[in-house]
Symmetry: C2
């Protein structure tokens, strides 16, 4: 039979990146293409202890249906975790647990976006956010970024011009940009939220992955200093990048009315997030192991980031421009075309695969007006020696 699909599917397509990922099975390839943490860094022993403790202490709760809002002890632990990150006034009932922060994005879309509504995102931004919001019929507007994150003057003009349903930002170690919004701009974003009565969505999966010094406080933490901003702010967090993506534990902090609607939508999306995973995460956080885990992953990713940026400067020189990241998983770079070198990310990606190294070209990360000279390189899952070798292969692909 010919199935007639919903109109909303007309707005999205299977990602070009998925096609690229099919090539990654090639033997011997060095991949800078992933967007995930290194599984070798997972605290398997700690998670094993946590799940066994959960099954000892509360097997019924860990294996039974649970509240849509999330498992009570986990909500308490996550509120306490937010306090360690500078947001000291988040009560457990002000957050709901989501099935990864991807589900928080889905619930934001489902709850807020009517077809034709405008949403402002960074250009570039997280690919799955673009597709997720488009599925609900959003028209996306891109706000330009630089090394200090979204350009707030331009953002304010776009807010005035488009009156968006909300603004979506990844202010800290952005994906794909690696950029971090400066403290001054953070304050400016909160102030313009109040001034224009605009909702801001802060997606913060990477904030804990800093290398040398902590980033500026999150918009959520700063909102305590900007009257009226908290009621216009949604904050999404996740254990995926710092503990384990496989647990699928994220959370969402939002004004009460929005949180209630998101909870209702979640009820019909997946009833609740796995209590098995939630109870495990709750016991893990309660065990006090998280600070050590964070310290370890920060150190490893810092070493790898340093190795990658050093090798890129050495091998590719003026052909590639980038700002060394201060945290997160990504180097975002731009082919300059210097000396007549290639300046097209797609073509470079194809040539790189032939040389045995993979990355993601940058164009798909733009909701509009893609910069085709850009590319995203992840250093997170590759050891230092292989990073150096991979960058040498990039040089061969680009400069011969």
């Amino acid at each position: 039979m010919t199935i007639s699909f919903a109109q909303r599917l007309d707005h999205v397509e299977t990602s070009a990146i998925r096609e690229l990922f099919k090539l990654l099975g090639k033997p011997g390839i060095i991949s800078f293409a992933g967007g995930f943490p290194d599984s070798a860094l997972f605290d398997v022993a700690g998670i094993r202890a946590a799940v066994n403790a959960a099954l000892d202490a509360e097997p019924g709760a860990a294996l039974q249906y649970g509240a849509t809002e999330g498992y009570g002890p986990l909500r308490e632990q996550l509120a306490a975790f937010m306090a360690t990150k500078g947001a000291r006034d988040v009560a457990p009932e002000q957050l709901i647990v989501t099935t990864g922060s991807q589900q928080a994005l889905d619930l934001i879309g489902k709850t807020l976006i009517s077809p034709g509504d405008k949403v402002i995102v960074e250009g570039p931004t997280f690919l799955a956010t673009i597709q997720c919001f488009r599925l609900y019929g959003a028209e996306l507007i891109s706000a330009p970024i630089d090394r200090d994150g979204v350009q707030t003057d331009a953002l304010e003009r776009l807010i005035e011009q488009h009156r968006p349903k909300f603004v979506y930002l990844i202010p800290t170690f952005g994906n794909p940009s690696g950029a971090t919004l400066s403290a001054e701009r953070r304050r400016a974003v909160l102030e313009m939220a109040v001034r224009h009565d605009t909702l801001i969505v802060e997606d913060d999966p990477y904030g804990e992955l800093y290398f040398d010094a902590p980033p500026p406080p999150s918009l959520l933490a700063l909102s305590a200093e900007v009257p009226g901003s908290r009621e216009r702010l949604v904050h999404c967090g996740s254990l995926s990048k710092v503990l384990s993506p496989g647990l699928r534990v994220g959370w969402m902090i939002a004004p009460p009315e929005l949180l209630a609607k998101a909870t209702m939508c979640k009820q019909f999306s997946d009833a609740h997030t796995s209590t098995f995973a939630q109870a495990t995460a709750a016991h893990y956080l309660a065990s006090g192991a998280m600070p050590q885990t964070l310290a370890r992953v920060r150190q490893v990713y810092a070493e790898r980031a340093h190795a990658m940026t050093e090798a890129l400067q050495l091998e590719l020189g003026a052909a590639l421009a980038f700002v060394p990241p201060r945290g997160g998983l990504f180097v975002w770079a731009r082919l300059t075309g210097a000396g007549g070198a290639l300046a097209d990310g797609d073509e470079f990606a194809r040539r790189a695969i032939e040389r045995g190294v993979a990355f993601v070209p940058g164009a798909p990360f733009y909701a509009s007006q893609p910069d085709r000279a850009t590319l995203r390189l992840s250093f997170a899952t590759v050891g230092v020696d292989r990073i150096v070798e991979g960058v040498q292969r990039l040089r061969l692909a680009l400069l011969g």
Copy 2:
């Protein structure tokens, strides 16, 4: 700020049942209101062994991001599980893993329903299905049921009249009806799917919970005998009622084109189902423990169902009409008003709570034209003695 929500939220409301559930905390209450399995029957030792085996054998895979379609070894185990249920030709790549079967319903809605599309459901049907499909803008049409499930003559007339996007059925031990579609009607449903080129969604969370004899083969199993029906059939399964709801592991079998679109939508809904839960479920199924687990829960639920139906007949007699279920978790009953007794389910529920016993009135389970004399009683989570006591309280509430 005043948040302006998406138009799709205009179609749904927080369920009346959730309000009722708030009363269940009352001390000493006997609850027949739940829709969940008894956590005392969970195979905690088996699940503990499975998660530890998963963390031994493949910690990286169990804790890392995974394919949106599902974890390969689990898809294989689920295909093998379907074979034990009579669907012998399901290849692992013909199913995707979902975050409970609630997510399968959500993906069906997201993938297929445009605002204004018509969908036929049973009257009564699963409450969260009604709300889930309405969120996507579906107009729901109710097809009448009797003790043998949906009335196929009436269903065919409704299909001809409304040309629905699809027909949603719970053919086996339905929620809330407890009814099971007869073998002849199953064949008739598949034949009319072909005749009218109509998609059928078979939701089958309860099929394994039979008391004396297995139910007729699922629509999926029967589709092998009705040429052209398989390509018009979606089948949703779940481990929630037979193993553990807390794992949130369901699955969806569908024609390839629909499965591909559902996978794309799932990518932006929650990326993938918890690999931690999926690897645990895969190891559990591979351990061979499932047949014994099923035998145990079948026996306990059969005893409780028998105790409830016997007590209802003894205590409430002609005031309550029902068909004893042959499986599942529910007795669906109708107040007859005999001897001038109350015939309103809502009012009966209120009086019952005062007497210390809870159930769910039937009206909310109808997408249209509710029968207000109906009610749903679950025997699943209450021991035999308390069932008898609870039914005595029902008598006091109804007959004084």
